[in-house]
């Protein structure tokens, strides 16, 4: 279905690689970041944070800090009391989910290292920071629940009052749901006459690491209290402030100005926002708080962190018969806003693109005394895609089949769409064969396989590995009825307004609040086509709840497929409101008008009138048909009917030096089917950035805690966000199966690269060294881990002798005193 047939001039702007409107201010330094805001009389905050993972607060002495120069106030949790509100969990995944009360600033007990115990307010940020050092907090250290598996056994309790660390067990079973067979039967049968693969994989803990540290300013002066925040979710933030602090929603204005990246990390309502809200209202002065990078890495929410126990059953010819998924997911110290819902999103994606007759998914969420976890780019789907794509490679290796051939044998064929999966979702469109064929060709799959064989045969110290990931994902969050059935606390609709200004320009208001994606450009392209106005004449407004009063913000690759559809519906309403006015002014019947390229034409004549002329006439309102309101402005709220299901084939080649464990990425090719494309430039950018975040999980990044629960990777010295020197250029291409569930036929792309790339890389690593008996390398696949995996069987024999061969004896002779 090419759904653009009814769209006026649909080929003009949509599909063009327009350079972004956003860039001008960003490349000249005229950007409005939250930390740039200075208000008259503004005060500055610094936080005092717990150095302990779990401790009772026995006393807090603020006297010295209060006496420091230009300190205005030092406040503790006891000072703020209940007025500080509470941090919410919007998605209790089961009715009996156990969740500790999450105060922004607790007064009695801290549950992770980095939790705030006091806030210092001073006239400058430096004075606040200096005084924060003077706050004297006494703690009684408590045993901390740190290791996920041990925490699941309740050996040490993260929150003693709850009596257990186990928060919720969420189960989906295809036999019970009626979407498939009984997985235990399938596994039992495969054990006798088929093949069963069992693996345990670790999804390490990651940190979103957006480049702009979080910052919040609250101005309590004026009729509405205004909060500026570096957030992805101004609308949800406003709702949550109203719901938990007793201030009517109508008295709250939230503004997300320019926001420097989020990746899920700013999809949160934070203790820092709540504390500054409370403090500014208490002091009656505007207050700003900007976190340091160390604070950001320590106390901004983390992502992933799962153990995956996977059991895959198949017949001996490689036909999948069942897949059982058992997850342990680390929530950290609190159940965050989405919290346990993140791993649960994976429930619908472990079956991926495959026809699996029987499926079971169980996720146990667990509380620990570490930073709380929540959405990080992909949120549940990268974990699922990693699990299933790693298993497909393991099954192929066990069967001695080419891993692509095994996948093709089991995937949904293009003529089988729409296809209802064993997890109960209906995939509307896709063509896995086409994407794979194109990827193989661009990648040079057969040639690289041949080279791999040559290196194997010659026992080359540098081995080549080829990794595959044929992924799909569900995005465009989300149909409200589905969210309701999962007990999520809100809907999944999106809102847009189109305002026709008298002077010919068009203002578009979107509820999807961007933070780097390029909505201003893409939305302008869509509206330019829909209304037949110039791209340059469209202005896109967002991120301020007094301008964009309705919205559910940006995450889950939802903006275009949900927010874009709302925009189309609003623009179409403008045309319908303009039609009777144009007919009246043209002295024609409404039925005789056709709207094309921005003009209402009277059929069969050369009479016509541009929509901007109609807008001006409507503004003047001197001559309108009886009973017609003098406005073309229109709103629409759109609730998606289904998710969107982008898919693709990613191929990765790595070279591994078996003597050192060193890894070099040689080539990365991805062919993504994201339906019709509004702006190929923006799409390429989303794919590139997504790829690197997924590759970074595979190779470099990990949030590491020591035995005391201190985050030791709490700066960019130790948390290895990749640099330009670590990465390569990518081959990015597309195939196109338009989505059938939105007008433009688009699918989400924001998370696709991250979801697909991690297993492609790890599969390549394992493929390079499988002949050493390696079946897994835990992420991040560091040279050390790769080296140890290669030498696991020979015990990692010392290599000094091998190294010595490279040096002359005279150069290595010990000439220190007394050596001879």
């Amino acid at each position: 279905m090419t759904v653009t047939e009814d769209a006026p001039a649909a080929t003009k702007e949509v599909g063009k690689d327009r350079r972004r409107k956003e860039d001008q201010r960003l490349i000249t330094g005229r950007t409005k970041w939250t930390d740039n805001i200075q208000l008259t009389g503004m005060l500055h905050a610094a936080m005092v944070r717990s150095p302990f993972a779990h401790a009772r607060i026995t006393s807090i002495d603020t006297s010295e800090a209060k006496a420091a120069p230009n300190v205005v106030a030092v406040l503790t949790g006891a000072d703020l009391g209940e007025g500080q509100g509470v941090c919410i969990n919007a998605w209790p995944i089961t009715p009996d989910q156990k969740a500790p009360n999450h105060l922004p600033m607790p007064s009695d007990r801290v549950a992770f290292a980095g939790e705030i115990v006091a806030v210092v307010i001073a006239r400058s940020a430096a004075e606040a920071r200096d005084a924060a050092e003077l706050v004297d907090v006494d703690y009684d250290e408590l045993p901390a629940a740190l290791d996920l598996r041990e925490a699941a056994e309740d050996k040490v309790l993260a929150h003693p009052d709850l009596g257990t660390n186990k928060s919720a067990l969420w189960v989906f079973d295809s036999g019970q749901a009626g979407t498939g067979g009984d997985v235990e039967e399938a596994i039992t049968k495969a054990r006798s006459d088929g093949i069963v693969i069992e693996r345990e994989f670790r999804q390490q803990r990651l940190i979103p690491a957006f480049m702009e540290p979080r910052s919040v300013v609250v101005d309590p002066t004026g009729e509405q209290v205004t909060m500026w925040s570096a957030t992805q979710i101004p609308h949800i933030l406003r709702f949550a402030l109203a719901a938990t602090t007793g201030v009517p929603e109508s008295k709250i204005r939230v503004i997300a100005p320019d926001v420097g990246g989020g990746f899920g990390g700013k999809l949160q309502t934070t203790p820092e926002e709540w504390i500054i809200w409370a403090v500014a209202r208490r002091l009656g002065k505007p207050v700003k708080y900007t976190e340091t990078r160390s604070e950001s890495l320590m106390s901004g929410h983390h992502g992933r962190d799962q153990w995956q126990k996977l059991t895959m059953a198949a017949t001996k010819d490689g036909t999948l018969t069942g897949f059982k998924v058992e997850l342990l997911a680390d929530l950290g110290a609190y159940v965050a806003i989405v919290g346990g819902g993140v791993p649960v999103l994976g429930a619908f994606m472990f079956n991926a693109i495959y026809k699996i007759p029987a499926y079971h998914f169980a996720c146990q969420t667990v509380l620990t005394n570490k930073t709380w976890t929540d959405a990080y780019r992909g949120a549940g789907r990268p974990e699922a895609t990693f699990g299933v794509e790693r298993m497909m490679d393991e099954l192929a290796a066990e069967l001695g089949m080419d891993p692509l051939e095994l996948r093709e044998k089991n995937w949904i064929k293009h003529e089988e769409f729409p296809f209802t999966t064993v997890a109960g979702l209906e995939y509307d469109s896709g063509n896995y064969e086409a994407a794979t064929d194109k990827a193989k060709e661009i990648f040079g799959y057969d040639e690289l396989r041949a080279e791999q064989q040559r290196r194997r045969d010659s026992n080359d110290p540098v081995q080549l590995g080829i990794g595959i990931s044929t992924f799909t994902e569900m995005c465009g969050l989300a149909p409200s009825r589905v969210l309701g059935s999962l007990d999520y606390g809100a809907g999944g609709w999106e809102h847009a307004s189109v305002r026709m200004l008298a002077t010919g320009t068009v203002e578009v208001v979107t509820g999807a609040s961007p933070h780097g994606q390029g909505h201003e450009t893409a939305w302008s392209q869509i509206v330019a086509d829909r209304l037949g106005v110039p791209f340059e004449n469209v202005e896109v407004l967002h991120g301020d709840t007094q301008i964009s009063h309705r919205g559910l913000d940006t995450y889950g690759s939802r903006s275009l497929v949900v927010g874009g559809e709302a925009l189309i519906k609003a623009a179409d309403k403008v045309v319908e409101k303009a039609r009777p006015i144009a007919a009246h002014l043209l002295e024609a019947s409404v039925d005789d008008l056709e709207f094309k390229d921005g003009t209402f034409n009277v059929k069969g004549t050369d009479k016509g009138m541009g929509i901007t002329e109609v807008a001006l006439a409507t503004f003047a309102a001197h001559n309108l048909p009886d009973g017609v309101e003098p406005s073309l402005d229109s709103d629409a709220t759109y609730d998606p009917v289904n998710f969107s299901f982008p898919h693709g084939t990613h191929l990765c080649a790595v070279e591994i030096d078996t003597e050192t464990g060193g890894l070099k990425m040689r080539k990365y090719t991805c062919v993504d089917d994201i339906g019709n494309i509004v702006n190929p430039l923006i799409v390429a950018g989303q794919v590139h950035g997504g790829l690197v975040q997924g590759i970074a999980q595979a190779l470099w990044e990990e949030a590491v805690h020591d035995d005391a629960g201190t985050l030791v990777s709490a700066s960019f010295v130790d948390y290895l966000v990749p640099t330009a020197a670590d990465t390569i250029s990518f081959d990015v291409a597309h195939t196109t199966s338009p989505s059938l569930t939105n007008t433009l036929g688009t699918k989400g792309v924001g998370e696709a690269g991250t979801i697909a790339s991690t297993p492609a890389v790890v599969n390549a690593v394992v493929d390079a060294i499988r002949h050493f008996g390696v079946t897994d390398v835990r992420m991040p696949c560091t040279p050390e881990r790769i080296y140890k995996a290669i030498h696991a069987r020979d015990g990692g024999a010392p290599t000094e002798g091998a190294a010595a061969a490279h040096f002359d004896a005279q150069d290595t002779a010990d000439r220190t005193d007394g050596a001879s």
């Binding site: 330094g29 740039n36 957006f210 480049m211 420097g260 950035g689 960019f716 020197a725 990518f730 291409a733």
Partner: protein
């Protein structure tokens, strides 16, 4: 307090500053040069990169007093008479930015890379930008922009190969 005199983006300034004040804080808070931003506290991210007497420095790693008598150029001083600097234009043309937070520092560093080596290889560009982190772009289009700015790649009509 120490008195400093310096030129920033072509204008002269004379200020009393605390000896501990970082150049980046001086630029942002005293001069309102908020185009230069802070991204970390360990001098890893490079978001605060400016030019000090013609060479790139991380302005979080320079004290304001060290800039006394110097000439500082920030992202806000690059465009002349409304004309973008070729590196700014290349970043726009090649879609080498998304959220834009790292962009000022990345552009300042990229200019420095070309000042040292006008025709760098891809590898040399990547190593030259190693001290500047970007979380959005995956660096692919940043490298491309530097190649375009160095005149080694024709200005792309579209980024073909990136979306076919």
């Amino acid at each position: 307090m120490t008195r400093i005199n310096l030129t920033v983006d072509g204008d002269t300034y004379s200020d009393d500053v605390e000896p501990r004040m970082l150049l980046v804080h001086y630029l942002r808070e005293r001069l309102g040069k908020t185009g230069t931003v802070v991204g970390c506290d360990t001098s890893n991210c490079g978001a605060c990169t400016v030019h000090l007497d013609g060479h790139s420095v991380k302005s979080c790693n320079v004290l304001a007093v060290q800039a006394d008598g110097s000439e500082v150029t920030t992202i806000e001083g690059l465009a002349t008479d409304g004309e973008l600097h070729p590196m700014q234009a290349a970043f726009h043309e090649c879609h080498a930015l998304q959220c834009g937070y790292c962009t000022p520092g990345m552009i300042m560093q990229a200019i420095d890379v070309l000042n040292d080596n006008p025709k760098p290889s891809e590898e040399e560009i990547r190593v030259g930008l190693e001290g500047n982190l970007c979380r959005c772009t995956g660096y692919h289009n940043i490298v491309r922009a530097v190649q375009v700015a160095s005149g080694q790649e024709p200005k792309p009509a579209s980024l073909e190969g990136s979306a076919s």
